[in-house]
Symmetry: C2
Subunit: 154 residues, 2 copies
DNA sequence: AGAGACTTTATAGTAGCTTCAAGGTCAAGC
DNA sequence: GCTTGACCTTGAAGCTACTATAAAGTCTCT
């Protein structure tokens, strides 16, 4: 039968590390699976679908908490999906806000960058001086935008 | 004199937690300050300015590594500031890339959201179905955009 | 029987803090 | 002189979502 998977099968099929699958189990997103005699995890179709769901949510950059929330809703099939909409709308809001902050940030960075077009010594560098005297974020501030990703490095 | 600060003074003036100042010291961004008889840290104007510099860089969402780099350049005043420009340009590149990823993400989320405008039960919810069957990120994927900030929550 | 690919658990590391615990210091008030 | 309370000290743990490592057990093939 095709609906019995070991952790490595699932990992290969869905292109996710095995450790991540165990981590999701540890975090309660996946429930504890059956085991073979040799104590290997065994997964079926339902678990494969659940993991797919989780991975899609992650690809949309939801937190594990948001995903936990959606999974709870998914597990209560008669409930009406207004709450699903609410979770998604909140997430869309997070993303929109983040984009706004990053655009502000980009403006400030370009402004700063424009202070040093001509070569000079760092003692007189307009950028370094700007960084020492610029108004701080808390005054009308950009809070924090989160530029550095975990998968999208360099 | 106004140029002797304890850690709490500095923290209040620059609106940063005292623990964060100690953390920057631990990470080598600030050097070990003088101490009072009672072993309290004492800071002067130069340290205050250095911390201001660091906080401005953080407000522009640079990593501590990027900031360390800029501080090294700042500490070598005769060096020419081409490298300062390079650090900043690289950072501007990071931000631009992040904005691009988030815009992709926003499109996908809105697409998904459009699947459930009419109220229904979660069993039939187009969003939950979409999340279970959507193409995964790895096929042409958005890698990871990083939506959830540390200071800008909810 | 032995090699090699797979699995198991537990543990530590990543970034940039934040929070906690257990205690030491200092100025003011009674 | 003694207490109260605000401040300071260090060290360790917690946060997110993994990733990496180690040491050991299992399975499959030859």
């Amino acid at each position: 039968m095709t609906n019995r998977y070991r952790i490595g099968d699932l990992a290969t099929q869905l292109a996710v590390p095995t450790q991540t699958i165990r981590y999701y189990e540890h975090e309660g997103l996946l429930s504890k699976p059956a085991r073979t005699e040799g104590n290997y995890r065994v997964y079926g179709i339902a678990e494969r679908e659940r993991l797919t769901f989780i991975l899609h949510c992650r690809a949309l950059d939801m937190t594990l908490d948001e995903i936990r929330h959606l999974l709870r809703l998914r597990d209560a099939p008669g409930q009406g999906c207004a709450e699903v909409n609410a979770v998604l709308d909140a997430h869309i809001g997070h993303v929109a806000e983040r984009i706004r902050l990053l655009n502000d940030l980009q403006l400030q960075l370009k402004d700063l960058r424009a202070r040093c077009e001509s070569p000079s010594t760092s003692k007189d560098c307009g950028i370094l001086q700007g960084l020492a005297s610029f108004p701080t974020a808390q005054d009308g501030g950009a809070s924090r935008a989160g530029v550095h990703g975990r998968r999208a490095q360099e």
